[in-house]
């Protein structure tokens, strides 16, 4: 469960987020939508403990994350959050399988069998030992989703996960999210895509740093 109260994030004189308050229930699919530069990614960064707010309160899984040190935020993120990025960031010199195992390694201990299963889960069993440069955009995004899922996080945060994909791959990725949602995971997606907006349980609309929902 995610509860934000009066979240403010300022960069120097710019206020990226103004008094944002919202709640995302456990197992809910929430879409954060809004125009470019409205503060969507800032909000996602705060939920994912990649950044800390200037003021306000943010409870994630019952923990007040605004009070955590940088080291504690890293640990919290490792144990509770799965991240999927728009640009499917992967370590270029590691294979698909190794890119999944790296998340296991940072979390606790790597398990190749489990990592293979995660890739099978996203339909990537035929590309286990391929480097990112040998994979299509859709395939890379599926590897990233497998990586985000490998440590069984309670919350999955995705920033424009289908932003760089064609229609077929977009559907394949959305199917995976639907499956995860049906398994009871909390999903928060930043998106411009109105079709994704329709799938979720909730839309958090942001405009000029202000949340409306």
């Amino acid at each position: 469960m995610i509860i934000a109260k009066n979240l403010v994030k300022k960069y120097d004189t710019t206020c990226a987020l103004k008094d944002a308050s919202f709640t995302i229930e456990k197992g809910e699919w929430a879409n954060i939508m809004g125009p470019s530069g409205s503060g969507k990614t800032t909000l996602l960064n705060l939920i994912g403990c990649l950044d800390s707010p200037t003021s306000g309160s943010l409870l994630v899984n019952g923990i007040e994350t605004t009070k955590l040190s940088q080291k504690e935020r890293t640990r919290f993120r490792r144990e509770n959050i799965g991240l999927v990025f728009q640009q499917f960031h992967m370590i270029p010199h590691l294979t698909a399988l190794e890119n999944v195992m790296i998340a296991q390694y940072f979390h606790s201990i790597e398990d190749e069998k489990e990592a293979k299963e995660a890739l099978v889960h996203v339909g990537m069993e035929h590309r286990l030992h391929h480097l990112p440069s040998q994979l299509s955009g859709g395939e890379q995004q599926r590897v990233c989703i497998a990586r985000a899922l490998i440590n069984q996080p309670r919350i999955i945060l995705a920033d424009e996960p289908t932003g760089n994909l064609d229609k077929t791959n977009e559907e394949a990725v959305l199917d995976i999210f639907r499956k995860l949602h049906s398994e009871g995971r909390t999903i928060v997606i930043v998106t411009h895509n109105p079709e994704i907006g329709e799938i979720g349980d909730k839309i958090i609309q942001i405009s000029h740093g202000e949340v409306k929902y």
Binding site: T41, K71, R78, F85, H93, L94, E98
Partner: protein, 349 residues
């Protein structure tokens, strides 16, 4: 996974790392030469100085003879007493020297003897004395009232070539004297301390073998020169490594941000970069040792006329120093890597 991350990361950048590895190799070569010369050549020179024989001559303090030379000092590794006197041979006054000739030969290893050392009724003329008297090996010679046979001819290249050497017993009988007129002393260690000790014991002492000191001075100077070169080359290696690591951190800031976003702690990140730097240090240090060994062999032969030997501790120290230099050079770049904000990943920067 740690090893896989480090090795794969090094493998993809191997061409760019080559310059740093070569720089470390040069530094390691200097360190190896320095250590080999310091340890091995110094040790060998010690042995050589011993082989130069005596480095002190002890003379009687009062009177003409040293009756019993019984100085005991840790640094005195050997001594030979000589009894010098003149005796008439074929109506000519010839210089004689009596000594324990086996010990004298050990003390003066450059003595070249054609034939054999003399026994009780034998003598060993120096090459000049033999010419003067027309002596050959096996010739008889009457000295005083005693008859001797020439056992060999001695060639020393010194004034000793003008003397005839005989056993101490024979010398005492012919000269009718006992004791020594001169004692050659071989010292290994602080020569000045031994001189003070002997003077306190009532002897007159003279230093010989200035060669030893000049060779030691040359060694010290060579060592200083190599130390300076090693210092500058190591500094240059360190700077090259530093710039390689800074470039690596800058190039990989996305990768670092991603790893941090995935939950990689600062300690683990620092360990990865340290391992990469350490691997570069070792990759330069190991071949550097062999290059250094060749260099020190060259210096040893060209300057000191000595072959250097392989010392395992030099190898271990060289590789350790190389790894340490690499690790220290990467500390600042690692600090920079740690400070990378994982937010840049989501921003797509």
């Amino acid at each position: 996974m740690f090893t896989r991350l480090v090795t794969k990361s090094l493998r993809v950048r191997r061409e760019r790392l080559l310059i740093s590895i070569i720089a470390v190799m040069l530094g390691a070569a200097m360190v190896t030469s320095l250590m080999t010369i310091s340890l091995d050549i110094r040790e060998q020179m010690g042995k050589e100085l011993r082989s130069y024989g005596a480095n002190l001559v002890v003379l009687p303090g009062e009177g003409e003879y040293i009756n019993q030379f019984n100085a005991t000092h840790n640094s005195i590794i050997g001594s030979v007493s000589f009894l010098y006197f003149k005796a008439g041979v074929n109506a000519k006054k010839i210089d004689f020297a009596g000594a324990d000739l086996e010990a004298a030969r050990k003390m003066n290893p450059w003595w070249h003897i054609e034939g054999a050392l003399p026994g009780q009724q034998e003598l060993l003329p120096g090459i000049n004395a033999a010419k003067k008297l027309g002596l050959k090996i096996g010739d008889p010679l009457i000295v005083g009232e005693k008859s001797f046979k020439v056992s060999g001819i001695l060639d020393t290249g010194t004034s000793d070539d003008n003397r005839i050497f005989i056993t101490m017993e024979a010398a005492e009988q012919i000269s009718d004297r006992s004791g020594a007129t001169l004692v050659q002393v071989s010292v290994l260690g602080d020569i000045d301390e031994v001189i003070r000790y002997l003077e306190n014991e009532g002897y007159k002492v003279k230093k010989i073998r200035q060669v030893a000191q000049s060779e030691k001075a040359l060694l010290d100077k060579t060592q200083l020169l190599i130390s300076l070169v090693a210092f500058f080359v190591l500094s240059a290696s360190s700077l090259t490594l530093f710039s390689t690591m800074v470039t690596s951190v800058l190039e990989r800031s996305r990768e670092i941000g991603l790893m941090k976003a995935l939950g990689c702690g600062n300690g683990r990140l620092a360990a990865m970069f340290l391992a990469e730097a350490g691997a570069m240090g070792a990759a330069g240090g190991i071949p550097g040792y062999f290059v250094g060994l060749l260099l020190s062999q060259f210096i040893g032969i060209e300057i000191f006329d000595m072959q250097v030997s392989i010392k395992p501790e030099v190898f271990v120290l060289t590789v350790l120093i190389s790894v340490l230099v690499a690790a220290v050079s990467s500390l600042l770049p690692i600090r920079r890597a740690i400070s990378i904000d994982p937010v840049i990943i989501l921003r797509g920067e």
